[in-house]
Symmetry: C2
Amino acid sequence: MKPTADLIGYLAAALTTIAFVPQAWHTWRTRATQGISLGMYSIFTAGVACWLAYGILIGAWPIIVANVVTLALALFILFMKLRHG
Amino acid sequence: MKPTADLIGYLAAALTTIAFVPQAWHTWRTRATQGISLGMYSIFTAGVACWLAYGILIGAWPIIVANVVTLALALFILFMKLRHG
């Protein structure tokens, strides 16, 4: 059961991370952050940080990998918002 | 460790779900889905479905709860996109 679960977990991690990349890329390319809500993004970033802590605490690698990547992208977008928003 | 992990997991679930609600609410109110990419949203929805399966397989309730709610919201937005997009 564990290898199947991990496989599905990594698939989930890949899909939700891939879906998030265009936003980060768009922000990087255009520096346009008017469409991004600072409040919503702060909540989201805090949530991703909590998922990362949760993944570490239960030792679930797909959760750790997914949220390290998403946290980096989310922090980057948040930084751009604070700088150019 | 388990209760602490679960607490952080539920906090993470609450935060990332709350951050997602305004998008669903905006789509419900305005029926405007031009700004939503069908490809990206399909990938995201598939990812959330995989996270749900992963949560069930490893028996992690915070993951199950978070992704049942997010899957419902994501499927609703996807349905609106397909209907009005």
